[in-house]
Symmetry: C2
Subunit: 152 residues, 2 copies
Amino acid sequence: MPRIDIETLETRSGCSYPHPFKEVCLGATWRKLGDAAGLTDFGVNLVRLPPGKWASQRHWHTHEDEFVWVLEGEVVLVEDGGETVLRAGDCAAWKAGVPDGHHLQNRSGADAVYLEVGSRRPDTDACDYPDIDMVAGPDGYRHRDGRPYPED
Amino acid sequence: MPRIDIETLETRSGCSYPHPFKEVCLGATWRKLGDAAGLTDFGVNLVRLPPGKWASQRHWHTHEDEFVWVLEGEVVLVEDGGETVLRAGDCAAWKAGVPDGHHLQNRSGADAVYLEVGSRRPDTDACDYPDIDMVAGPDGYRHRDGRPYPED
């Protein structure tokens, strides 16, 4: 059955970032639509972002394309060039390898709901977080000097 | 600017299938959101499917994952196992290589609008159309006995 029964999917939460970078992201929840259908080329998540929360730290991927489509509410897209409000019916995308850190913040008083799509290049992808002392690769999160973050 | 200004994107139409398979698909229009942002790992199209039209002939891909999210209206998903109505807020996905021909038909009286996402494997992907005498590969559309279709 290719139709995905969204309501039956596990609602996930949490954040793998080390302290103190994780706190502002805790509260978001998502359902893994692509995984539910066995997709492996790209992932599709249905994300709910509560007021005051960030979807991630500002980041850019070396090898993974990303796309978002806003379904409900609004988010603020922050990038090097400034800020842009994205509302229901708006979309944005980021080509892998473009070193423009970006993320979504919910500054509104209501939940924002959006689809996020990302290609899957786990063997090659790395991620840079330009605002903070953190980079990520296949071996996890590290300081910029190469020291790994302790798990917490 | 990662935000995609949808209204400025070219609205595309047409169908590359040979006659007589193209006629039922003519009328659909789409905007290439992923291309607009330079994405290459996967494509994202915003599709408008008028009443009575099919999004494609029933097909399955050997090497490309697919995903759709219905934004407005409703479509009927047809697959080997039967038919399923997908309405706004519903989604479906198809793993590459699963030989279950599928397509979307608009049997309603109003346009249906949906997002379609597909991975890009143009060098390896082939497509089978189980209801008709047609297969597709990097060299275009062919009869099942290997003869190419004339362009029309």
